[in-house]
Amino acid sequence: MTDRTAAWQPSALELDRRLHRRRASRRSVLIALVSTVAFAAIAGWLVVTSPNWEAVRQTFFNVEIAAESFPRILEGLWLNIRVLFFATIVVAIVGTLLAVMRSLRGPVFFPVRALATGYTDLFRGLPVLIVLYLVGFGIPGLNPEVRIPVAVLGTIAISLCYSAYVAEVLRAGMEAVHPSQRVAARSLGLSHAKTLRLVVIPQALRKVVPALMNDFVSMQKDVGLISVLGAVDAIRQAQIVQATTYNFTPYVVAGLLFVALSFPMIRLTDHVSARMATREQTGGTV
């Protein structure tokens, strides 16, 4: 009887409630399972029984061509991963700079603020494909003597676009940090820059982690667009195989590889968001 929790036994009332909850959740799982299976079966049946299914299957889901093209596409994907790596670094730096520029106050900083605002407005509005064309064919056109690898141009174009998105997300996060935090920091004698770096940005980042991760997932697939410049990435490799075999299976393979690439990040984003949500609901304790 020394352990007080051991002495406690749930009452009949509580046991009854638990039984009821268990029954209700079992019923919900069953309904969800049956409806999902039924939906998948109907969708599958509709596709498979359509008159031209056999031809489509041959063109898009050809196992031999998939196996044959897989190594080349995987090799192409390596280029996408490298582009993604460098673009992420550039976006992190440029996005932060833009967010800070937009958050500067006072009339002195009007030109800087206007520049950052103009940039984010422009590059959030421009389709990525058009930026790719402008950078990919425009910059080399300036000086034909210098040859810049297309993958580098693609990285620049992707970074230009995503910096604008990330800057806006970061700015929203910085504005969500309560003004009293700035007041406290400035009262200690911290300069504006140190207040941003040590107090505002660390808290802002925490608030926008899910949104940033979402942008990263989006960028993961958009690096595939560099193929339009002729960079030999996963999609370009798929296109090369497609051009010789007249079979679209390589595109499906490339698509699945992109999904596989983004899958861990998507799950991680869900996990982080869910964890943050529960933390907020339980009143702030970790």
Partner: protein, 254 residues
């Protein structure tokens, strides 16, 4: 009231001369004159909206004001050429809502200004911080994040953060108003310790019994200026102004 006399500058920590502050048409401070001597504890009382908080924020240069002068140990801190960060580093502030940095551990909250503003070596700052935290019964909270602490503990950490770099003046702005009545005592005890150690304090509060026991001087703010100033005995036992009497009657018979 009178012109600044430089010979007495070392003894006067803070001097306000005709300070005005307007929020749009709202004239919040209407010519505040106030002097605080070294080691003096001055408690500002007054109804909400009488300008207590604005006065605090103005002294710390967080709020830009509209007229007058403020001298800190004889230096005119309202000179436009003055580096406001340097001025703020000389004044310790504690807020009603603590305003600890939630992403930093207690130790990092407390040592931040020492490391990043005063250029004190991290291990030196750390030793001093741990010493102070232990003195004020927070020795076991050094590694905790603020959200794991009670309100009273958070406010005590905030006070340690403010005194960490030996400020010339401490501004305490209704530091117990957001606390559970059970936790008010532990924070006020800390303030009493600071007084005994010789800190110069300007404090706004609604804790009248504490004001009576700790203050060297009470300033009653009314209509944006100090209406009546005196020792606790003068103000609480024999207030001259009818407004002071009315305020004290209301607040003590709540």
């Amino acid at each position: 009231m009178t012109a600044a006399h430089p010979s007495a500058a070392h003894a006067t920590v803070l001097e306000l001369q005709g300070v005005h502050k307007l929020f749009g048409d709202n004239h919040v401070l209407r010519g505040v004159d106030l002097e605080i001597a070294s080691h003096e504890v001055v408690v500002v009382i007054g109804a909400s909206g009488s300008g207590k908080s604005t006065l605090m924020r103005t002294i710390n240069l967080i709020e830009r004001f509209d007229d007058g002068r403020i001298l800190l140990s004889g230096d005119d801190i309202t000179d436009p050429a003055v580096d406001v960060d340097k001025v703020r580093a000389r004044i310790g502030v504690v807020f009603q809502h603590f305003n600890l940095f939630p992403h930093m551990r207690v130790i990092d909250n407390v040592t931040l200004a020492a490391r990043k503003v005063h250029g004190i070596a991290p291990d030196v700052a750390r030793d001093r911080a741990i010493g102070l935290l232990e003195t004020f019964g927070l020795g076991d909270k050094v590694r905790d994040y603020p959200d794991r602490l009670s309100g009273g503990q958070q406010q005590r950490v905030a006070i340690v953060r403010a005194i960490m770099t030996d400020p010339e003046l401490l501004l305490l702005d209704e530091i117990t108003s957001a606390l559970d009545p059970m936790l008010v005592g532990e924070v006020l005890d800390l303030v009493r310790d600071l007084k005994n150690q010789g800190s110069t304090i300007l404090m706004a509060t609604h804790e009248m019994s504490f004001a009576r026991s700790v203050a060297d001087r009470i300033v009653f703010m009314h209509g944006g200026r100090p209406l009546e100033t005196g020792t606790p005995e003068q103000i609480f036992d024999a207030p001259r102004e009818p407004e002071t009497r009315e305020f004290l009657a209301r607040i003590t018979h709540r």
